[in-house]
C-alpha cells in the first residue's frame, strides 16, 4: 500500500488530497516513484485527460515498474527524468509556454510536490488550485534553520544536517517558498545529548 494517512498536525503542515479530473485546456502531471499510481488511478476516472496531458515522471528507486503503464495512458507528451533537479528546466519551459486553463496534478513524495508546486506558483497559479496526492515514501525535504542548507529525503528524527553537521529535530513547520520543513538543533544546550533517531511516523 503506497497511501499513507498523515496524522493531523499544525496548520503549517501541507495537506494532500486525491487527484480528480478537472476541466482544462491542458493537463500537466508531475510525479515521482509511487506517485505513478495516483496518475494511473486518475486515468481510471477520466482517461481522456491524457490526450491533452504532459507527464513528467521521475521513477527514483521504482525503476521500470510504472513507466510502461504510464506510457500506455497515451499522454500527448511523456518524459522520464533521472532526478527532479534534472527535470526542472523542462517544467519551467512548459509553464512559461502555458496559458490559463492549464491544470496541474502533482503526485508522489512531499519533496517533489512541494518543489513542483513552487514552480507552478511562480508561474502564476495559486497554490490552492494545484492538485496534490501523496504516494510512497514519507521522507521529507528539510531545511536547516541554522545554516539554511537543504537535506533531501530525511527519514529519521532527529537527523544530521548534511551541510553543517548539527543534530536537527524534524518539525511540521513548513515553508511553501522553500518547499521544505524546518529542522531545528535538538542538542544546542547540551551538545551530544540527543534521543535515538526514530523513523518518521513509526
Amino acid at each position: 500500500m503506497t497511501k499513507f494517512q498523515f496524522p493531523e498536525s499544525i496548520r503549517s503542515r501541507p495537506v494532500y488530497g486525491t487527484l480528480e479530473p478537472r476541466p482544462g485546456k491542458a493537463h500537466l502531471m508531475i510525479a515521482d516513484a509511487e506517485g505513478a499510481e495516483a496518475l494511473l488511478d486518475l486515468a481510471t476516472r477520466e482517461a481522456r485527460l491524457f490526450a491533452q496531458g504532459h507527464i513528467i515522471y521521475i521513477p527514483k528507486t521504482t525503476g521500470e515498474t510504472y513507466t510502461q503503464r504510464l506510457r500506455d495512458l497515451g499522454p500527448a507528451q511523456f518524459h522520464v527524468g533521472p532526478t527532479y533537479e534534472a527535470s526542472v528546466p523542462r517544467i519551467r519551459r512548459v509553464l512559461s509556454d502555458a496559458h490559463m486553463g492549464l491544470q496541474v496534478y502533482l503526485a508522489g513524495t512531499e519533496g517533489l510536490m512541494g518543489q513542483a508546486q513552487n514552480e507552478a506558483m511562480q508561474a502564476g497559479i495559486p497554490h490552492s488550485a494545484i492538485q496534490t496526492e501523496h504516494r510512497g515514501s514519507v521522507a521529507r525535504r528539510m531545511q536547516c534553520v541554522h545554516c539554511k542548507g537543504i537535506t533531501e529525503d530525511v527519514v529519521t528524527d532527529p537527523f544530521v544536517c548534511s551541510h553543517c553537521g548539527l543534530n536537527l529535530f524534524v518539525r511540521d513547520h513548513y515553508s511553501r517558498r522553500l518547499a521544505a520543513f524546518q529542522g531545528v538543533c535538538i542538542d544546542a544546550e547540551d551538545p551530544g545529548n540527543l534521543p535515538d533517531p526514530v523513523e518518521l511516523y513509526t
Binding site: P23, A98, H99, M100, G101, G124
Partner: protein, 328 residues
C-alpha cells in the same frame, strides 16, 4: 481582544465632506465629487474600494454603497458615479434630485471588497453598464505601476456609454466597447482562451453577467481564485415582519420597504455593517429561534448556512412566518 481602539459605532468611520462637483454624464449617470470639510487629505484607498454615502432624505436616513472611481493617487477628492434607478428604493433618485454643489454630507472610510490581486501577471476587466466604476480606479492604478490590463465594456447604447469616450481616447488599444443595440457582445470564450498563466479576470455588472463569467471561466479550467466579482444588492421590499432582538431586549417591526438592518437602526440598535449589500459578511447575525421561512439574498453565507436556519444577513435578507428571535 486586539489592542486596536474599539470603534464607538457600527460601520466604517465617517468623513465629513462637501460636494464639490455634480457632473451629469448622460441621461442616467451623474458623477459626484467630494472634498473634505476639514481640508485635510482623504485617506488613501485601494482601487476597487467603495464608500457608503449617508443621505438625509427628510426624516429617513439612507446608506448606499458606491464604488470610488477617482484616481487612488489623488488624495484631494473622492468621486462616485451614480446611476439613477427610477424603480429603486430612492437612494439614487435622492442623489440625482437633491444633492447640489456645496452640500455637506457624510461618507464612510473606504472599504475594499473587490481588490486587484497584484500577484496577477495580467488583469482582464469585464464591465456591464454602471459596473465600469471600480475599473476606472483600477485602470488608473495599473497605468501608474505599469501593469498589464485590458477592458471589455458592454453598454446598452452609445448614449448610455458612461466614460466610453474618455476611455477609448486615452487607451485605444486596451479598451473594447460592445453596444447591445448593435448586437455586439463580449466573446467571452475566445477572450478566456489563450490568456497567459497568472491572468486574473474581474467582473462588475448585473448578476447574470457575473454568473456567466464565473461559469464560463470554471468550464475553461480557470481557478476560482483568478475570477473576481462584485455585485451590490439593494434590499428588496417584502411583507412586513416582526423580530425579537434578545440582546437589545426589544421587539421591532420591519416595514415593507426597509431592510431588517435598517429597521434595527431605526429602533436605535447599533448593528454591525459595512457594505449593506450582502457581500462583506459584517452584519452576519445568529438566529436564536425561528418559526417560518427565511428569504436569504446575500452572497456571503454558503448554501449550508442558508438551509440551516441558524444565520441571517440583515442587510438584504428577510423572513416570512410567525416569529423570529435574533442574537442582537
Amino acid at each position: 481582544m486586539s489592542a486596536a481602539p474599539q470603534k464607538a459605532r457600527a460601520g466604517a468611520e465617517k468623513i465629513d465632506v462637501i460636494v464639490s462637483a455634480v457632473v451629469p454624464l448622460n441621461e442616467l449617470v451623474t458623477r459626484f465629487e467630494f472634498t473634505r470639510a476639514d481640508d485635510k487629505a482623504f485617506p488613501p484607498f485601494s482601487a476597487g474600494a467603495h464608500t457608503v454615502v449617508e443621505m438625509r432624505d427628510g426624516d429617513r436616513l439612507r446608506l448606499n454603497p458606491y464604488s470610488l472611481m477617482s484616481d487612488p493617487a489623488d488624495s484631494s477628492l473622492y468621486a462616485i458615479s451614480v446611476r439613477r434607478d427610477d424603480a429603486g428604493r430612492g437612494g439614487s433618485l435622492f442623489m440625482h434630485r437633491s444633492v447640489k454643489v456645496g452640500d455637506r454630507m457624510k461618507i464612510s472610510y473606504p472599504v475594499n471588497l473587490f481588490p486587484l490581486d497584484l500577484r496577477g501577471r495580467k488583469h482582464v476587466f469585464l464591465a456591464g453598464g454602471i459596473g465600469i466604476t471600480p475599473f476606472m480606479a483600477m485602470i488608473a492604478h495599473l497605468e501608474r505601476m505599469g501593469g498589464a490590463w485590458e477592458l471589455h465594456y458592454a453598454c446598452r447604447n452609445e448614449a448610455l456609454g458612461t466614460y466610453v469616450d474618455q476611455l477609448t481616447s486615452r487607451y485605444p488599444n486596451k479598451v473594447h466597447v460592445y453596444f447591445d443595440d448593435r448586437n455586439q457582445a463580449i466573446a467571452l470564450e475566445d477572450l478566456l482562451d489563450g490568456q497567459p498563466l497568472g491572468t486574473h479576470v474581474y467582473v462588475c455588472g448585473p448578476k447574470g453577467m457575473i454568473d456567466w463569467v464565473h461559469a464560463t471561466a470554471a468550464a475553461h479550467g480557470w481557478p476560482d481564485e483568478n475570477v473576481h466579482s462584485e455585485e451590490f444588492l439593494a434590499p428588496q421590499p417584502g411583507k412586513p415582519f416582526e423580530v425579537r432582538l434578545c440582546r437589545s431586549d426589544i421587539t421591532i417591526q420591519v416595514g415593507e420597504s426597509e431592510s431588517l438592518l435598517e429597521a434595527m437602526e431605526r429602533c436605535g440598535v447599533d448593528a454591525p455593517f459595512l457594505c449593506r449589500g450582502g457581500a462583506c459578511g459584517q452584519c452576519e447575525t445568529d438566529v436564536i429561534e425561528a418559526d417560518g421561512t427565511f428569504v436569504h439574498r446575500d452572497h456571503w453565507l454558503d448554501d449550508e448556512d442558508h438551509t440551516s436556519g441558524k444565520k441571517i444577513m440583515p442587510c438584504v435578507s428577510r423572513f416570512v412566518g410567525k416569529s423570529l428571535v435574533l442574537d442582537r
